[in-house]
Amino acid sequence: MKEKDRRSKKQWKTYLKGHWQLYAMLVAPLIVLVVFSYAPMYGIILAFKKYQVSLGIWKSPWAENHGLNNFIRFFNNYNFKECLRNTLVLSIYSLLVSMPCAILLALGLNYVGNYRFKKTVQMVTYCPYFISTIVFVGIINMMFDNRMGVLGSFLHNKFGINVLGSPEIFPSLYVWTGVWQGVGFGAIIYIAALAGVDMQQHEAAIIDGATLLQRIRYVDIPAILPTAIIMLILNMGSVLNIGYEKVLAMQNQNNMAVSEVITTYSYKVSLVSTFPDYGYSTAIGLFQSLVGLVLILVTNKIADKVTGDGFI
């Protein structure tokens, strides 16, 4: 036993002698990871506390109701239902629209013979991806302004629609402008998947008399399905997390009833509020993280069962 111990210790020593530099490289990134990703996890106990700045995280007293008071307050708050509904509407609507659009664009580009035209479409559709959220929302506001904006004034004068002022339109505005900005970039991954399709399959299908639409249906779609499923799983994890950038920037007094999502709400009760409620906001964040984790694992499991394409 002792002999074995000594030998494995010696083995490790010789191993480290040859490989210590690999571990040395890992030190700096690991420190940053531990400090900025893992250390905040310690702060999660705030969710179960009544935070007092003067006492700090550890010494603050536990919240009422066995420490669960922050959660109870959130679930009972009249804002909770509204925020949850808004969040789900925006993220599911956007998931349902943006993925098919990206796939459609990728399929369209896949069947363009003219190389120049194809490259032009690709390059132009990537372009909006490089515009910052602030500028992008600024452009939306300018175009849909019902007095000055070119689309807004048209819709206002012809149909009496006030795009920026009507809460009913907000989800569609959010989602379709999102498509405008992201469809070209979202298509890249499907273009890559389509490029990997074996040409022989297409040739065989042509010989068998398949039409173009049939080839898309029976050759291309199955080829991009695994990619689509992975994208779906990745997106599922962030279903509750939308909002820090674009929704927050798009909010105005008119659309608040439909644009207040969980993230913006938790930001407002903590960092914006004159009486910041850090414990409450942390509890909301923890709720989001946990739901996200569960959703990723569940979708992954289902995908694995159905198609064998789970990836974790």
Binding site: A39, P128, S132, I134, G138, E245, L271
Partner: protein, 296 residues
């Protein structure tokens, strides 16, 4: 039968071209519109006369932007944060990814799990904020560039690239010649990995240049503001303070819509750097997405 098939395909091809041309126009129009607006007169803007081309062309709005000091302070800060943040993030990512790509690293699975877990679970807004605050980083550049500098996703992409592109034989040959891991990494791996370095640098740089939430919560003095924070004030909150800028007061009085015009020109000036470089760098973006899509 055969004839029917051919005509159907032709129709589908035709509609495909129509569809893509429409996409092209839908994406292009708002961009052209904003550019045209930035060259139009304040009167034309406010009365909604601009539809496609500039109306009553003028360079007034650009003149105002060039004289608006806050924008250039933001510009300078954004450039500094983006350059330093990108260097830092790329260096850390490569340093993490290379050892993790080596099959002979013992405990590699544990380290990898440590990175992967952060993709699925995080401390959240407030715990991160309090940490940054307790470290004394609030209102410094570090609050903007440090917290997101090691991204698990980027590490995975770089690791996949190393696995596919650095042949095992090369390492063995170098080892025989007595080359250390450090030296192999610096003088062989990095030079062979320029495509992935470009991909990572672009992702990080675009992210830093365009983000506004982190700078917004961490920076509180105006001389440290990034360009996006200044833009947020001008474009979204319409807080244009013309009197504190270097713009000639006579010109402000003369043109009552100057603050409205300023918005459009600001958009153009602030988006210009990325718009100018993206045609040349987009292929790297595409490459990065493709490497990332390989199951790693």
């Amino acid at each position: 039968m055969k004839k029917k098939k051919i005509t159907q395909d032709k129709v589908v091809y035709f509609f495909n071209y129509v569809f893509l041309t429409l996409m092209l126009l839908i994406v292009l129009y708002p961009l052209i519109y904003i550019v045209s607006c930035s060259f139009s007169s304040g009167n034309a803007l406010v009365s909604g006369k601009v539809k496609f081309l500039p109306v009553e062309p003028t360079l007034q709005s650009y003149k105002a932007v060039f004289e608006y000091r806050a924008i250039w302070v933001g510009y300078k800060n954004s450039i500094i944060y983006t350059v330093l943040g990108t260097l830092l993030s790329v260096a850390l990512t490569l340093l993490a990814a290379y050892p993790l790509s080596r099959e002979d690293l013992r405990g590699g699975k544990v380290f990898m799990a440590l990175f992967l877990f952060t993709m699925m679970f995080s401390g959240g807004l407030i715990p991160t904020y309090l940490l940054v605050k307790n470290l004394g980083l609030v209102n410094t550049m570090w609050a903007v560039i440090l917290p997101g500098s090691v991204s698990a996703y980027n590490v995975i992409v770089a690791r996949t690239f190393f696995r596919q592109n650095i042949p095992q034989e090369l390492l063995e040959a170098a080892k025989v010649d007595g080359c250390s891991d450090f030296r192999f990494f610096m003088s062989i791996v990095i030079p062979l990995s320029m495509p992935i370095v470009a991909v990572l640098a672009l992702w990080v740089a675009v992210g830093l240049w365009n983000s506004y939430f982190n700078p917004m919560i961490y920076l509180n003095s105006e001389n440290r503001y990034t360009l996006q924070l200044i833009l947020r004030r001008i474009i979204l909150m319409s807080q244009v303070n013309l009197s504190s800028s270097n713009i000639d007061p006579a010109r402000i009085a003369e043109n009552q819509y100057l603050s409205e015009m300023l918005k459009y020109a600001t958009i153009i000036i602030s988006s210009l750097p990325l718009m100018l470089i993206y045609p040349f760098v987009q292929k790297y973006f595409v490459k990065g997405v493709m490497i990332g899509s390989v199951k790693g």
